[in-house]
Symmetry: C2
Subunit: 245 residues, 2 copies
DNA sequence: TTCGCTTGCGAACGATGTTCGTGCCGATGT
DNA sequence: ACATCGGCACGAACATCGTTCGCAAGCGAA
């Protein structure tokens, strides 16, 4: 202790190079954590190297000592989010229920950082947490009696489906952010507009759409996600998966 | 005829303002068609306003008289591609087969312009061709006996699934383009690397993945797409859809 | 001490989407 | 036939973006 000069007010002509910031000395973790904060607060489009650097009280060039480029930062961000996913121990008798719960859990974790899905769809996940989750899913299904190849493909399709749905949700969220309205007003406006538009379509060329406008627009993101999830799980029955009903 | 002066070599001191270009006089259609050519030949990342303008022998500002902004151009591009989708007349007895064929057909049309999926996932399709396809899908399923709300949600999930899968394929294609290798070499290299990596994982923490490496990597894009498609269609059975088996 | 290496960072490069101002050209009104 | 006017083409510029370069400062090893 004591090797640093005690804090003393700077001479007024010695203008401080910056707002002192007093940040931790910059590390990959700090960069990732800051990036996640920006992503959650302002969305994918606001997530730039400059924005992250500014949040850390430095310039964009400083980041490149800890991160190869933006793509690598996005990879790290994605795995950082996947770290929040808790994987259960396989219980052979309840494989279908476990898979459904896990899929919903992943859906919720990703949705909590909605715009991360723009990243998830942009590259093949191979970080440690992605591996952990894949291993858990394989264990659940194979120990439950699903043939290994079917289980492998199922995991692939499930992850694709989850990422795509969250991605779609993030699109709506981005538009809502851009519109300035609050969430409720935005979606009722949005679907109202769509409904009005559908109803003005010529009935002779669009008999089905005009007749079933309400069905087309009914149901929010969550309900539709569960519907598709149950389709995928239900379809497994004919591929040698032990059915629980 | 003859109202144009016959072609004569320009005086050498009169440098032509550009390659004479002799383009058609610029229209929304010409812009969209050119954009599609760029997209197919060089991918989504190469599709810039400047690139399209250059291809048309003009500057980027000229496009904005015919197209509001890049997003609108992408919308137009997407519907232009959907125009290539042929929609069948509904045949009530074969609704499931018709839906499967139509989904595969859409998958193929989108795959032929692979990078268009980056657009498809980025906004809610509402162009005339998207409407036409939705109407056809509704007709097939409802006339086949599927309850209207289930049919509506099914269409939503199917379109999401198709777009997501083509999108994933476009990612691989983009990486392959960037790598400079040809398609075959690229995918065998790529999956070879993944397989090698999986096999080096510690067996105690990843018993499932190390044991089933081959299953995880087996099957190309098309086979997996059909697998997921059949999961979705098969899952419909429990939602009041008349089953054909 | 001196060397070398990592880290921080200001400045700059090339590229992007988009806007502004200015012409031109052809249709329209008289 | 001539004047006028509106839309289209387009060069230039602006604000951003990701990324690289070159240099200064700190620090551990020799």
């Amino acid at each position: 202790m004591g090797e640093q000069a005690q804090a003393v007010p700077l001479p007024p002509w010695r203008t401080p190079r910056k707002a002192p910031a007093a940040r931790q000395p910059l590390s990959q973790d700090a960069i990732v954590e800051t990036g996640l904060r920006v992503l959650d607060a302002e969305g994918f489009d606001a997530l730039s190297m400059r924005r992250v650097a500014q949040e850390l009280g430095t310039g964009p060039a400083s980041l490149y000592a800890h991160v190869a480029n933006k793509d690598e930062l996005l990879d790290l961000l994605y795995d950082r989010v996947l770290a929040e996913v808790e994987t259960p121990r396989a219980d052979p008798g309840r494989w279908r229920e476990q898979m459904r719960d896990l899929a919903l859990h992943i859906y919720e974790v990703l949705s909590a950082h909605a715009d991360i899905a723009r990243v998830a769809m942009a590259d093949i996940p191979s970080g440690p947490n992605a591996l952990r989750i894949t291993e858990a899913e394989l264990a659940i299904m194979i120990s439950g009696g699903v043939p290994p190849r079917i289980a492998s493909w199922m995991i692939d399709r499930l992850n694709l489906y989850i990422a795509a749905d969250v991605h779609e949700g993030a699109m709506y969220a981005a538009r809502q952010r851009a519109s300035g309205k609050d969430a409720g007003e935005f979606i009722s406006d949005f679907f109202g507009r769509f409904g009005d538009y559908y109803r003005t379509l010529p009935e002779d060329r669009f008999p089905m759409m005009t007749a079933h406008v309400d069905d087309l627009l009914e149901g929010g993101g969550r309900v539709r996600f569960e519907f598709g999830l149950d389709l995928l799980l239900g379809g497994l029955a004919r591929y040698g998966a032990p059915g629980d009903r």
